[in-house]
């Protein structure tokens, strides 16, 4: 492989989309009401579609004869490069919304920056994905306010989800040598530069939703380097079962 950093960078993007898409898909058949189940299904589709675009590009860069399905279904947990936030369980509906809100608030900023990428393939996927994430963020924002400023119970539960997930938000803005490579080559933004705009948006919405921003600044990291929480293994077990049990199965 003559461009290993690019491969690594694209796999991270693909794994974020794949893992979040799989999580959102878990709501199908379990949604609190029909339209929300459809919304989650719609979002899951957007992300699985994005994962396919990113991972098929990664497979081309790798040039080892693997395709996007093999990258998705035959890699182990240690080879996954998604941020920890996205592998966290769905929890109740509010916890899924809080995860969506934290991630989409970051992702619209990230994709916007990625549309200016020197890598044309990535810029194209970003332009398409940006429109979708703008919709996702609207949905998550509406629900943050509705739950936070809703009943006593909805307020208490969404606050609990915000508190629970907060420690995974910092990883989205932590850069490493791969991010530095991306900045140096005009491929992607320095994640730290996205932080102020994210803070502004998150603070505004939390305030409107009468929620408290956690003051705990200690953050879990490691997902981007393949060090995951226990939850990813369970997710992969379910997602990969068929291809592991019946290698190469197609229909």
């Amino acid at each position: 492989m003559n461009d290993p950093q690019r491969f690594e960078y694209v796999v991270r993007l693909g794994d974020n989309a794949l893992v979040l898409g799989q999580r959102l898909g878990e709501w199908i058949g379990n949604g609190p009401e029909l339209e929300e189940e459809m919304a989650m299904g719609n979002f899951a589709l957007d992300y699985i579609g994005q994962a396919r675009l990113f991972l098929s590009y990664a497979a081309e860069l790798e040039g080892a004869g693997r395709d996007e399905d093999q990258l998705a279904f035959l890699r182990d947990q240690i080879d996954f490069r998604n941020v920890l936030l996205l592998e966290q369980p769905n929890g109740d509906f509010g916890q899924t919304i809080a995860r969506q809100f934290f991630f989409e608030s970051y992702y619209v900023l990230f994709l916007e920056a990625l549309t200016a990428s020197s890598d044309k393939r990535l810029a194209e996927v970003a332009a398409r994905g940006l429109k979708e994430s703008a919709y996702h963020l609207r949905h998550a924002t509406q629900w943050m306010v509705r739950l936070g400023d809703g009943t006593e119970e909805s307020h208490q539960r969404i606050q609990q989800s915000v508190d629970e997930l907060w420690r995974f938000t910092g990883e989205m803005f932590s850069g490493d040598e791969i991010d530095r490579w991306a900045v140096d080559n005009g491929v992607g933004p320095d994640p730290a530069t996205l932080r102020p705009a994210w803070d502004t948006r998150v603070n505004e919405v939390l305030q409107t939703a009468t929620l408290t921003r956690p003051d705990n600044d200690w953050m879990h990291t490691g997902g981007k380097q393949g060090r995951h929480t226990e939850h990813l293994g369970y997710l992969l077990t379910e997602m990969q079962f068929l291809q592991r049990a019946y290698p190469g199965a197609a229909w």
């Binding site: 929300e36 194209e124 332009a127 398409r128 429109k131």
Partner: protein, 164 residues
Amino acid sequence: MTTTSVSEAQAWSVLNRVADPEIPVLSITDLGIVRWIKRDADELVVGLAPTYTGCPATEVIAANVLTALRRSGYDAVRVETVLSPPWTTDWISDEGREKLHRYGIVPPASGQSKKSLLGGSRDIACPRCDCTSTTRVSEYGSTPCKAAYKCDSCLEPFEYFKCI
């Protein structure tokens, strides 16, 4: 018939008759997802823009395009996915908008996509009675591109093609 005996213009007219699998009243050219048709040596290449990244109809559409063109005598045909610029509802043709309305789906307004994405709204009139007092039941409908509405006057449930 061989590949060289049919022109690109004829290929367009073939694709004018390929229906969108999820909204069969529209052809894929009405929807604006056929971006271009061009020749690459002996091959005819069709550029298709997906409406949404994960739209499950995308592969069906690509297969239908190949089938329709082969039936019309194009032996060497290939489909390419065009992501940039991203598809927008502004590309739905006027005829397509008219067909959508007659089908009972309120077409997206032109030139509204950016505003709509950022949360702007407009009056959505009921396709049955034209009453503008309507209620959005769900922003997410039976397909990724539609939202569910209800008319406050005649109570007709209907779908609205979202602006993106």
